[in-house]
Amino acid sequence: MSAIAADRKQASDRKPARDRKLTRAVVSSDRRFAALSHGLLILWSVIVIVPMLWVLVSSFKSTSEILSSPFTLPDHWRIENYEHAWTDANIGKYFLNSVIVVVSALFLVMLLGAMCAYILARFEFPGRRLIYYVMLAGLTFPVFLAIVPLFFQLQNFGLLNTRPGLILTYVAFALPFTVFFLYAFFRSLPHDVYEAALIDGAGDWRAFFQVMLPMASPGMAAVAIFNFLGLWNQFLLPVALNTNQDKWVLTQGMSAYASSQVYDIDYGALFAAIVVTVVPVLIVYIIFQRRIAGSVSQGTFR
C-alpha cells in the first residue's frame, strides 16, 4: 500500500530518495490519524447512543427495578408505564397543542418571511437598508431582554395565555432568521423569469406566488426544517407567556411532569414519557436526515 503511494510521490517529485522517506512517515502518520478518527467517532457515538438506549430500556422497568440497578433488563416489559405516562403526564394533549401552535406558526412565518425577504431582496426603496439592519439586531439580542415587556405587550392585546398570542410570538422571533436566509435565496434567483412573468401580464402578486415562490422552494424547505426544530423545541416563550395548563405545549408539559415527580416518583412512567416525546422527532429526523444535513450546508456556504 505505502509502496504505491511512494511510487506516486516519486513520479511527481524531483528528489526521490528524500521523498520516499518523507512519504513513509506521512503514511504512518495518516494511519495514526485514521485510527484516532475512528476512536473519536466511536467514543462519541457511544456517549450519544448509550443514554438514549438506557432511557428506552428503563421505560419498560418498574420503579423498584430502576432503583435497584441501572443495568438489568426488565423481568417483564411493562407497557403500562406508557399508559401511565399518557394519562398522568397528559402527553397526548400537550403533543396536540404543540402541533397546532408549531404548524400554524411555521406556516405563517414561512409565508410572511418569504414575502418580506422578497421585497427586501428584489426592490429598491428608501429605508431598505434600515429594515435589514434592524432585523439583524433582532437576531443578535437575547430573547431574555424582551421577555418581560413582551409579557405585558401580550397582556395589553389580550393575547396572554392564548394560542394566537403564542403563535404570533413564535412568528415574530423566527422572522429575522427566516428573512435572512431567504433574502440571500431570492437575491440569487434569475431576473429574466420575473421580467417574463411581468411581460406576460402577471401583476406583482401573481409574479410572487406563481413564479418566484415556487423557484425558491429549495430554500424554503431548508428554512422550514430549521424553524420547525427551533419552534418545536422552544421552551422559554411558552413557559413565560403560556401558563394556562390546558394550552401547554409538549416541552412545558414534560418539564412540569418531571418536576412533579420529585414528590411521587414513578421513574418508569417518566422514562416512558421521555421516549414518547423523542420517538416521533427521531423518526422524522431519520426520514429527512439527508435533507437536514443539506440544509445545514446551505446555511454555511453563503
Binding site: F33, V48, M52
Partner: protein, 352 residues
C-alpha cells in the same frame, strides 16, 4: 448551489444591490403595487416591531424604573437598578456562572465538533485523494441525534443519568471499581457546573459537527491536492488547510454557541431548577425569570436583561477581535463580511 451563492455574495456588497439584472424596477405606483407593498412588507414588519423590536426598546426604558408590574405607577430611577445589581451577591454569582459557561461551553463544543467533522471528512484511507471515513454517514446521523431532541428532554435524560442512586453514570463508574455510589453530581458545588456544561455540550456538538462537515466539504480539493504534493499528512492538512479555510464558520459558530451558553435557561431548568448547590449554577436567565415572574420585580428583572444583552454583545465583540488579531476575518474584506450575515443566520437557526 455554489454558483448561486457566490453571485448572492457579490450582489449584496454592491452599492445598489437591487439593480441586479440591469434594470431599475421603478414603475408607476398602481393600486395593485401599493397593496402589494403594504401586505408584503407591512404585515411582517408590524409583527416584528410589535413583538420583537418594541419590547426590546421598552426593556431599556423599564430597566431604569422600579416598576413592579401589576400596579400602573412607577418611578424613573435612572441607573439605580444597575448599581443595585452590582451589590446583589446572587446576581453577581449568576454573572460569574454565566461567564464560566461562555468561556468553556463554546470552546469544548467546537473542539469536539471540529474533531468529529475532521474525522468524518478526512479520516479516510491515506492513499489517493482525501476521502471521508468509512461509515461517515452513520457517524453524522448519530452525532446529530441530540440536536433534534428538545433541549428540555436532553436535560431530563441527563438528570436521570446523573441520579445518585438510579443513574447510569454512577452505575458504570461503580462497575469500573470506582467509589461513586450515591455520588451526587448535581448536588456538589465542585461538580454541578462541569456536569451542566457537559450536558449542554452533548446537546449541541452534533449540529456544529454537521455544520463543519459541510464547511469542510466546501474547501476546494485542489488545496488538499497541493498539500499532498508538498508531502503533508492528514494532521498537517487539518492544521494548515482545513482550519484556516473554515475559520469564519468557526467564528460564527463561536458567537452563537456563546449566546446559547449565556442563556442556558432550558438546560438549567431541567437539571438544576433551584440554581444548584449554593447557587453555583444559577444563570442570569434563571435569576431574571424568577425576579420577574415569581417576585414581580419587573423593572429590576429588565435591568438584568440589559446586562445579559451587554454581556452578549461584549462576547461577540471579543470573538471578532480575537479572530481579527490572529489574522482572520479581514483578509477578504467586504465579501466575507457580507457572507457572514447569512451564515450567522444559518447558525442562529441552530441555536434557537
Amino acid at each position: 448551489m455554489k454558483d448561486t451563492i457566490t453571485t448572492s455574495d457579490t450582489a449584496s456588497s454592491r452599492p445598489t444591490p437591487a439593480a441586479r439584472g440591469g434594470r431599475p424596477r421603478r414603475r408607476k405606483l398602481t393600486f395593485d403595487r401599493v397593496t402589494f407593498f403594504l401586505a408584503f412588507l407591512g404585515v411582517p414588519l408590524a409583527i416584528f416591531v410589535l413583538f420583537v423590536l418594541y419590547p426590546f426598546v421598552q426593556a431599556i426604558f423599564w430597566a431604569m424604573t422600579n416598576w413592579r408590574g401589576f400596579s400602573p405607577d412607577y418611578d424613573f430611577i435612572g441607573l439605580d437598578n444597575f448599581t443595585k445589581l452590582l451589590e446583589d451577591d446572587i446576581f453577581l454569582k449568576a454573572l460569574r456562572n454565566v461567564a464560566l459557561l461562555a468561556a468553556f461551553v463554546p470552546l469544548v463544543t467546537l473542539t469536539l465538533a471540529l474533531g468529529v467533522a475532521v474525522a468524518v471528512t478526512l479520516g479516510g484511507p491515506s492513499i489517493g485523494p482525501v476521502r471521508g471515513i468509512r461509515g461517515a454517514s452513520f457517524y453524522r446521523i448519530v452525532s446529530f441525534f441530540p440536536y433534534v431532541v428538545p433541549a428540555i428532554i436532553v436535560g431530563l435524560i441527563w438528570a436521570q443519568m446523573y441520579d445518585p442512586n438510579a443513574g447510569l453514570l454512577n452505575g458504570i463508574l461503580t462497575k469500573l471499581g470506582l467509589d461513586f455510589e450515591e455520588f451526587s453530581w448535581l448536588g456538589q458545588e465542585s461538580t454541578a457546573m462541569p456536569a451542566l456544561m457537559f450536558v449542554i455540550v452533548w446537546g449541541l456538538v452534533g449540529f456544529y459537527a454537521v455544520l463543519f462537515i459541510a464547511a469542510i466539504k466546501g474547501v476546494p480539493a485542489e488545496l488538499y491536492e497541493a498539500a499532498r504534493i508538498d508531502g503533508a499528512g492528514r494532521f498537517r492538512m487539518t492544521i494548515s488547510v482545513t482550519l484556516p479555510a473554515i475559520r469564519d464558520s468557526v467564528q460564527t459558530a463561536y458567537i452563537y454557541l456563546g449566546i446559547a451558553a449565556l442563556d442556558a435557561f432550558v438546560y438549567v431548568q431541567a437539571l438544576l431548577p433551584g440554581g444548584g448547590p449554593a447557587n453555583s449554577t444559577l444563570t442570569i436567565s434563571q435569576d431574571l425569570f424568577n425576579t420577574a415572574f415569581r417576585k414581580g420585580q419587573f423593572g429590576y428583572a429588565t435591568a438584568m436583561g440589559v446586562v445579559l444583552a451587554v454581556v452578549t454583545l461584549v462576547f461577540a465583540a471579543l470573538v471578532f477581535a480575537v479572530n481579527r488579531l490572529t489574522g482572520g476575518g479581514e483578509s477578504e474584506g467586504k465579501k466575507k463580511a457580507s457572507g457572514f450575515k447569512a451564515r450567522r443566520a444559518g447558525a442562529k437557526g441552530g441555536a434557537q
